[in-house]
């Protein structure tokens, strides 16, 4: 898994597919439990499949259940393409990356 660039931020570099889903899930879940909120940075994702998509959906649902904000950052074409096919862009909002503060109402939606 990629380097974590500080508490509450997970930067995913490389594939987010069935090949890597196991370790990615562990990373996402442990960070989500350990911090008050989580930013998942998707800029470096090179491939995304159903397993990856499913993992993002799980993370979003878990975060909501724990009452912690979760944001997906980095609108990269690989990610937006998959979201367009699954027509999930509205459900899994991906924001341009940047140091913008977490807006609680958005994150806990």
């Amino acid at each position: 898994v990629s380097a974590s660039t500080g508490p509450g931020v997970l930067e995913i570099i490389g594939e987010l597919t069935v090949q890597t889903a196991g370790e990615r899930k562990a990373a996402v879940m442990s960070l989500l439990e350990a911090s008050d909120g989580l930013d998942i940075v998707l800029d470096g994702v090179t491939e995304l499949d159903t397993a990856g998509l499913q993992l993002l959906l799980l993370a979003q649902r878990e975060a909501a259940q724990l009452g912690r904000p979760l944001r997906l950052l980095g609108a990269n074409p690989v990610v937006t393409d998959i979201l367009a096919i699954a027509q999930l862009s509205a459900v899994l909002g991906v924001h341009a990356s940047g140091p913008a503060p977490i807006a609680p109402e958005e994150a806990t939606r």
């Binding site: 069935v18 899930k25 159903t50 998509l53 499913q54 799980l58 649902r61 027509q87």
Partner: protein, 744 residues
């Protein structure tokens, strides 16, 4: 990797696997007649056809789907026992298999549509299957090749009888696709999103709703399992069958439902909604939102269903559910784990097959063997140094190391070895077809099928063998009346046999036919000027003449011998593989063609010798013994070996090596194909494991050298090509003999 690349790769895999399936199918079909209990074989043929149909549907190869579908229907009837195994049925199915092979070949050439000739051929072939189909032939039979026919399973068309009557292709309409893939689909490399993306080639994907509610809690969620379901609205003109075809591969594991507003009944929609159990509300909402169904129609269908149930007339509804369920997978799916538990057999079988073998690029294997070869050399070199330094502990350790290296070497070489049986069994079909053509009754007996040989050799020996087999059947085995006259059974026997013999593999093609008429062969040879009249040749030599170019003693030229491939081509092919061929014939009783080929020549155990300053390696499996050269034999070309005359060759003069001859010389006695000769060398240096490096093209014409190798100390040693030397020696003797005979 882009989607197009993925599809291209997948198509290549499809072709490879498809050809294997066709081979399986042929083997199984040929086995059907002789097996006592053909149930398992019938199933194997059916599965092969079914998988072919499924995978060709995945690539939109409609003509293949159409064709295979009919074949599959016949096989299905065979499987259920509605029809029995007959020779005629197999005779009808085999050409269908061949046609599929032709289709695969043209797909490999990039033609994804069928040509008019192929369509015509398909129609003709399917007509021969007609008698084996149900009393009322399916539309697919008559419509094949003339436009899109229904290709869905016949059960599906039974469930929707109205659709069969519809003329022409359906118009553009909004289909509802409910795609719930099997939980294992991701692990199996099937990405649902790729399928959805692919759907856009069949029409317009109007709406996709991803159902995420089936994902379990984080703790139970297996990240490699697929929990997502997709409800897709597709606007398309494509027939249902084409769309079903896309999902052929995954339908067994998952629940794929395709609902067509033209032909699906309201009940089908209700079934779909109910199949989601707790989530039925969600699905209902999706269906209503996308306009797939209307509220009032849904209500009335529900009312009707309740009414039927209340009236105790639920039988028909149950049947309908059953039909859809069989077609589209398990209708009830309470939790993802429930589906995982009931993994269908087909998937399990695929896995078993995958576990049994893996595919490797040949160059990778060659690279491995090359490196192992270097390892052997490096190990030998280290061993030499340890011995030189008299370091015993190191010598012992290296001994163990070398033992392991040898084991690695053997396993690496083993990777290239395949049993020759699969090549042999291809000839069952050839013998069957050729005997039908010739009107002869011939049975093929195979033995030694598990003899292993280098894969590259197996691939190249097929053509020569094919010719020998055809030749034996055409010219060797007599017609039934003649056999009766000679007191033989009416049924001719052809044998294929293989065995290992001193570093070679021997392949025999024998028949119990007429054998070679040596007198006629000799007469013909004299007539052609191949042999001087009056020359005395042994029977062996006379029979060997049949391998000369342009030699044929056949009285009648049949369509088999008119192919322009003579026995000389067989001999040339075998020689190109560094092999030899000879013939053993008993006139009136039969004939055996014997091909002798090297097993593999990547690495050999060699015997290192030195002449002057040069080192040579003699393949150890050719070496019989080593003796000292008797002092009195300097002037002769032969010596006395325990009362036997042993001709010898001086490597010093053969390779024009200069330098003083030592006082004592040694003879390495080698044997090839029953002939012994001695090689005179200066010193014997002992056994040596060696990797053959081929000589460059420049040295391709050098006789007597089979390759080179690098010694532990970095020197180059040449590898002696014993067969070549022995043959060369024999030829020279024969030439001498001929000359002397003609002089007389």
């Amino acid at each position: 990797m882009s989607f197009e690349d993925e599809m291209r790769d997948a198509l290549a895999t499809f072709l490879v696997e498809g050809r294997e399936l066709l081979e399986d199918m042929e083997r199984a079909l040929l086995g059907l007649e002789i097996e006592e209990d053909p149930t398992e074989t019938v199933n194997a043929v059916f599965r092969a056809a079914h998988t072919m149909k499924g995978s060709s549907g995945l690539f939109g190869l409609d003509h293949m789907v159409r064709f295979t579908h009919v074949v599959e229907s016949v096989l299905d009837r065979l499987r259920t026992g509605e029809i029995g195994v007959t020779s005629d049925l197999i005779g009808a199915l085999l050409p269908c298999r061949d046609h599929l092979g032709v289709l695969m070949d043209s797909i490999a050439d990039g033609r994804l549509e069928e040509t008019p000739e192929q369509a015509e051929r398909a129609t003709g072939l399917l007509a021969t299957l007609n008698p084996y189909l149900q009393g009322n032939p399916e539309p697919a039979v008559t419509a094949a090749g003339s436009g899109p026919a229904r290709t869905g399973s016949d059960r599906a068309s039974d469930a929707r009888p109205a659709s069969g009557d519809r003329a022409g292709p359906p118009g553009r309409r909004n289909l509802h696709l409910s795609l719930r893939f099997g939980p294992e689909c991701l692990r199996d490399g099937m990405d649902p999103l790729s399928f959805i993306r692919y759907l856009s080639t069949l029409g317009e994907v109007v709406d996709v709703t991803t159902v995420t509610e089936l994902i379990p809690d984080a703790a139970q969620m297996d990240p490699e399992c697929c929990y997502l379901a997709f409800e897709v609205t597709l606007s398309s003109e494509a027939p249902i069958a084409a769309i079903e075809g896309v999902f052929e591969f995954v339908r067994e594991d998952g629940a794929i439902r395709i609902l067509d507003p033209d032909s699906s009944s309201m009940d089908d929609y209700v079934d779909l909604i109910e199949s989601f159990g707790e989530l039925s509300g969600r699905i209902e909402e999706i269906l209503l939102r996308t306009g797939a169904i209307q509220v009032d129609a849904l209500e009335s269908a529900r009312d009707a269903r309740q009414g039927r149930a209340a009236a105790g007339a639920g039988a028909s509804a149950t049947t309908a559910v059953g039909a859809v369920g069989r077609q589209a997978g398990p209708p009830q799916l309470e939790s993802p784990t429930a589906a995982a538990a009931g993994e269908p057999r087909a998937a399990a079988e695929t896995k078993v097959r995958e576990a049994r073998s893996i595919r490797i690029d040949a160059p990778r294997l060659d690279r491995l063997i090359d490196v192992v070869g270097e390892l052997v050399i490096a190990g030998a070199s280290a061993g030499l140094m340890a011995a030189h330094n008299r370091d015993e502990a190191l010598t012992v350790a290296l001994g163990e190391l070398m033992r392991l290296v040898e084991e690695v070497r053997d396993s690496a070489l083993q990777l290239r070895m395949v049993p020759i049986g699969s090549t042999f069994s291809r000839f069952q079909r050839v013998v069957r077809d050729v005997s039908a053509d010739l009107g002869k009754d011939v049975v093929l007996v195979i033995s030694g099928g598990d003899t292993e040989v280098d894969k590259a050799l197996v691939e190249q020996i097929g053509d020569p063998l094919m010719h020998l087999v055809r030749n034996s059947m055409d010219h060797g085995i007599e017609s039934a009346p003649l056999r009766a006259e000679r007191g033989k059974s009416a049924r001719g026997t052809l044998r294929l046999n293989a065995f290992h013999d001193s570093g070679s593999i021997v392949i025999e093609v024998s028949d119990d036919g007429g054998g070679i008429d040596s007198e006629r062969v000799l007469a013909k040879a004299i007539e052609r000027g191949l042999v001087e009249p009056g020359a005395s040749l042994s029977e062996q030599e006379v029979n060997g003449l049949v391998f000369e170019p342009g030699f044929s003693t056949a009285d009648a030229v049949s369509d088999l011998s008119g192919r322009g491939v003579g026995m000389d081509v067989v001999k040339r092919n075998v020689t190109a593989l560094r092999g030899t061929i000879d013939v053993e014939s008993r006139f009136g009783e039969g004939c055996t063609m014997r091909i002798r080929l090297p097993l593999t020549l990547a690495i050999i155990d060699g015997f290192l010798v030195a002449v002057g300053g040069a080192a040579f390696v003699v393949p150890l499996d050719r070496v019989i013994e080593c003796v000292e050269l008797p002092a009195d034999s300097h002037l002769r070309g032969c010596m006395d070996l325990r009362g036997e005359v042993l001709p010898f060759i001086r490597l010093r003069s053969l390779f024009a090596i200069t330098g003083e001859r030592p006082r004592r010389e040694n003879v390495v006695v080698v044997e090839y194909a029953g002939m012994k000769i001695g090689l005179v060398v200066d010193t014997l240096m002992g056994e040596f494991q060696t990797v053959i490096k081929p000589l460059g093209v420049l040295f391709g014409h050098v006789n007597g050298i089979g390759g080179s190798t690098i010694l532990g100390n970095g020197d180059v040693a040449l590898i002696i090509d014993v067969p070549m030397l022995v043959r060369h020696h024999g030829d020279r003797n024969a030439a001498n003999q001929l000359v002397t005979t003609t002089k007389e």
